[in-house]
Symmetry: C2
């Protein structure tokens, strides 16, 4: 079973994920992204969906038109793990400048 | 500009959209759908996304793994319109049995 990040690992990793913030009352991180329009937003979501399926690690996300709000946490570990960091990095990589 | 449904039209249409319920405090409707897994849930979302783009009328939606929660309302009209009913019917049609 995958282990939660230690407090130290968590702080180190979060410091490197500039666009993300901690979620109040949950061991999770979130990021809000704004795209040009729905086409671009859903195109982004499709890339993340394919990656998520490959990783067998899925986001919680909300979309309305050009906005996507993503929350990452590992349900099996009841908190943040390396998988969340990996998926967050992928998201940052494909959404640079948003 | 598209017009909100009248109270009578609204009642008639909602009676025909069995899986949908009114949203508290907003002139909007919502439906929660449960799929077999993420692949099926995101496949459904992709079909709705393509339809929404074609209609130029987009949902507000939340997804986590196999669950999709959809809210429909017409921002331009500040409430429910025929576009919401049309999109809701499409959603019902492609998710029959869910």
């Amino acid at each position: 079973m995958i282990q939660k990040l230690s407090s130290e690992e968590r702080a180190t990793q979060l410091a490197q994920l500039a666009g993300w913030q901690a979620v109040d009352g949950r061991d999770a991180i979130k990021r809000k992204l704004k795209f040009a329009d729905f086409n671009e937003a859903f195109g982004f979501m499709t890339r993340v969906a394919i990656k998520a399926q490959e990783m067998d690690h899925h986001p919680e996300w909300f979309n309305v038109y050009s906005t996507v709000e993503i929350t990452l946490s590992t349900h099996d570990a009841n908190g943040l793990t390396e998988r969340d960091v990996k998926l967050a990095r992928f998201i940052d990589q494909i959404s640079a400048g948003k």
